[in-house]
């Protein structure tokens, strides 16, 4: 009997082993498949990321340089200071375009009639006039002298300079005609055309001329807007998070509030823009297009994000800390402010920074309150008209002039840089101060 049984078991066992070894192969295969799909997923994501980043970089790197043309400018006293006052303040009223026109005429003496000259005068940007004015005002001794000066070229010439293949295009497909192309080649042959650093990009606000447009205006606009957002959002969100998590009684009312906060986090951002239009502009009569209103709208949007992360990081602090504090005679308030909040600060800060970088990239709610606008003056306060980085990128993208293509990409690079910095700060804060329990 016994023997029979064991024989049977042996048989069963060998059968089982066989079964297992068969299924093992299958299970290994399925694990391999799983790994393969995982790697495939990550690989696709990485390829997309690289494609996007490299296409932005390739398109945008040109924006950091602009074209300059060297001309011999004669600082004619008759034009700059006809009354011979020698007072730099008087120089402001001179027509510096005439100096540039004379220099161009000297360089290309064959250009005689007015119509052809108009084609030539588009070579130099109108910003060059201001540069000459500055130069004359700062160096009075230059008046009456001739000097070779590098002048900013117009965006059209810049595009031609950056895309040499355009020379071989048909005349009607090119941005400039054949005569202009021959002038361009003459300048190039004489070494009077070169690339220089595009300082306007980092020191100007928006402009209709691509070579004069810059990102500083919208950078400051973003700064002021986020400042308002942070000042409003952080105290309110942390206070409500702490109250709800630590002090509030658990009842239907607080449950109701909690559900609402979680729902608010999922509301599309444009709704907050409508709210801002209805309340901040129409009821409170705050100025349109101002960073203060933008900041208030974005604060509404960011509040739930920070409240939720505050509560999550408070929850992560073990109850023993609170119990120990209370056991030693601390009040509930003391236990929270002295022990729980300091322990959960890294989590709260991380949440805040991530909420802020979300707000930095937001443009939809700002459309409603007039921050999607053409603004040339650099904002200096919370009530000045301003726009923000993502909006500036959108505005450049929708402009007809060719030179804005690379500015758009360069704007995206600036925005991405700020986002990467903010997110790395968040990661750093978390790793540096995080406590393991």
């Amino acid at each position: 009997m016994h023997l029979k049984l064991s024989k049977n078991t042996e048989k069963d066992m060998s059968k089982n082993t066989e079964l297992i070894s068969k299924s093992l192969e299958k299970r290994h295969r399925s694990e391999k498949r799983f790994r393969f799909f995982g790697i495939l997923g990550i690989g696709t994501a990485v390829i997309f990321l690289i494609t996007i980043l490299s296409s932005i970089f390739v398109e945008g790197k040109g924006a950091f340089k602009s074209t300059f043309i060297q001309l011999e400018i004669n600082f004619d006293q008759e034009i700059i200071d006809p009354n011979k006052t020698n007072n730099p303040e008087e120089f402001k009223f001179a027509n510096y375009k005439l100096l540039i026109n004379d220099a161009l005429k000297n360089y290309f003496p064959e250009v005689k009639d007015r119509k052809t000259f108009r084609d030539l005068s588009v070579f130099i940007s109108s910003a060059a006039e201001q540069n000459l004015m500055k130069l004359a005002m700062e160096n009075i001794e230059i008046i009456g002298e001739s000097k070779k000066i590098w002048l900013l070229a117009s965006s059209t010439i810049d595009v031609i300079h950056k895309n040499p293949q355009m020379e071989n295009f048909l005349e009607e497909d090119r941005l400039i005609n054949n005569i202009q192309m021959s002038w361009f080649n003459a300048l190039k042959k004489n070494g009077d055309i070169k690339f220089g650093l595009n300082t306007n990009f980092l020191s100007n606000a928006d402009s209709t001329e691509p070579e004069q447009a810059g990102i500083l205006g919208s950078m400051l606009g973003s700064f002021f807007t986020l400042l308002v957002t942070l000042l409003l959002c952080f105290p309110v969100a942390v206070a409500s998070g702490v109250f709800l998590e630590e002090l509030a009684p658990k009842n239907k009312f607080t449950d109701f509030i909690e559900i609402n906060i979680n729902n608010l986090a999922a509301v599309p951002s444009i709704i907050f823009g409508l709210l801002g239009l209805a309340i901040f502009l129409n009821v409170m009569h705050l100025p349109r297009s101002a960073p203060i209103v933008g900041g208030m709208v974005l604060a509404l949007m960011t509040l739930p994000t920070i409240i939720i992360s505050t509560r999550a990081s408070l929850k992560a602090v073990p109850p023993s800390i609170r119990e120990a504090a209370i056991g030693l005679g601390a009040t509930k308030f003391q236990a929270v402010t002295h022990h729980v909040i300091p322990q959960s600060m890294p989590g709260i800060l991380t949440g805040t920074i991530i909420g802020m970088s979300q707000a930095l990239g937001e443009s939809a709610p700002l459309l409603m309150i007039g921050m999607v606008a053409f603004i040339v003056d650099i904002p200096g306060s919370l009530t000045d008209s301003a726009t923000v980085l993502p909006v500036q990128i959108y505005l450049w993208k929708s402009t007809a002039a060719r030179g804005f293509v690379e500015l758009t990409a360069a704007g995206i690079m600036v925005l991405l840089t700020f986002l990467v910095i903010m997110n790395s700060v968040a990661v750093f804060v978390r790793q540096k101060f995080e406590k393991k329990w």
Partner: protein
């Protein structure tokens, strides 16, 4: 909350006065208005005006919302103000406005450089894009638009699917396109023309509606996007303003409409059929309160800006005849009140 309260109190003093012009309105006028504003800011000593591109309809809505510094001073429009909007303005206290015409704009129909050139008539455009097309040759009855290929509309056209990318209904360009291209093509049918007299409402509905079954694609208020889509799809035809055509001649080429290319001379002489006027409207009550409004209007109407050799011409604006420009320059100087009666005559 304290911070918010403090900020709000600090603001209230600033809100009551504003020293910067606020402009809203058409995305077609936007590129011209921004150039004027930038020059104005650099040369006049006033702050540079802030310009929002909201579309003609959206701009007039904001403009007519009332008097006071929170409302814009000027709105740009790529079509004339409508009676409905004048009434809304009057209701909200905006009774005194000045109308300035700044120039013309042609609406081009263009496709990718690599695609064959199209020669369209307004009738072809109507038949290809209207929601309802005539069911009989006279156009007495209509049926839902059945055409999918260009050669079904007109045998002379290529056997390619109808794909037209154009602006959304909030755009002045779309309003003008519906009126100037679709409706005029519609009028070529005697039965449709007769309907205008007998039932104007139905006529407007049937002759100005664009089909919604696929061949007409709405692309949003971004003409650059339309150009990119055209380059990607050689079968597609795009609808956008002349200035965008002018800037992108290396990528797209225009179709002839009724035998005429959308070129500078043809648009300004009125030979090209799909062209319209560009306007802006000034709130006269604001002109004495907001510094710079009068000067801005003067800059925009000056010969150096919108005249034949003006600085807006290289940007794609098609100038008014000199006499008409001078009239609007005068209107701008005196802020001549706009008389809504001219709208009724039409």
């Amino acid at each position: 909350m304290l911070v918010a309260a403090a900020l709000t109190i600090g603001l209230s003093s600033q809100v009551s006065s504003r020293d910067q012009i606020k402009i809203v309105g058409s995305s077609t006028v936007y590129p011209f208005a921004t150039v004027v504003a930038e020059r104005f800011g650099k040369t006049s000593g006033f702050k540079t005006p802030v310009i929002e591109s909201t579309g003609s309809g959206g701009g007039l809505k904001l403009f007519c919302a009332g008097l006071g510094t929170e409302h814009p001073d000027i709105t740009n429009a790529s079509r004339r103000i409508k009676m409905k909007e004048v009434k809304k303005c009057t209701k909200n206290g905006v009774t005194d406005i000045t109308e300035i015409k700044v120039g013309f704009d042609g609406i081009a129909m263009a496709n990718a450089k690599s695609a064959p050139m199209l020669e369209l008539t307004l009738k072809d455009v109507y038949l290809a894009l209207a929601k309802d097309v005539p069911a009989d040759p006279e156009g007495n009855t209509v049926k839902p638009n059945p055409y999918k290929m260009w050669n079904e509309v007109n045998p002379a056209l290529p056997a390619k699917p109808i794909v037209v990318i154009g602006p959304p209904p909030t755009s002045g360009t779309r309003d003008a396109f519906n009126e100037l291209a679709i409706e005029r093509g519609c009028k070529k049918f005697p039965g449709r023309k007769a309907l205008k007299k007998s039932n104007k409402k139905l006529y407007k509905k049937q002759c100005r509606s664009v089909r919604e079954d696929g061949p007409f694609v709405e692309a949003g208020e971004n003409d650059n996007l339309i150009i990119e889509k055209l380059v990607a799809d050689p079968n597609a035809l795009g609808v956008f303003g002349y200035s965008f055509l002018d800037q992108n001649r290396d990528k797209v080429k225009a179709a002839k409409v009724d035998g005429v290319f959308p070129e500078f001379e043809a648009i300004s002489s009125g030979k090209y059929p799909v062209s319209r006027s560009l306007f802006f409207y000034v709130k006269n009550a604001h002109a004495s309160v907001i510094p710079g409004v009068k000067e801005y209007v003067r800059e925009f109407t000056a010969s150096k800006a919108i005249g034949n050799d003006g600085y807006l011409v290289p940007k794609g604006l098609i100038p008014l005849p000199e006499g008409e420009r001078a009239k609007f320059e005068k209107d701008g100087k005196s802020l001549a009140k706009f008389d809504a009666k001219v709208l009724q005559k039409k």
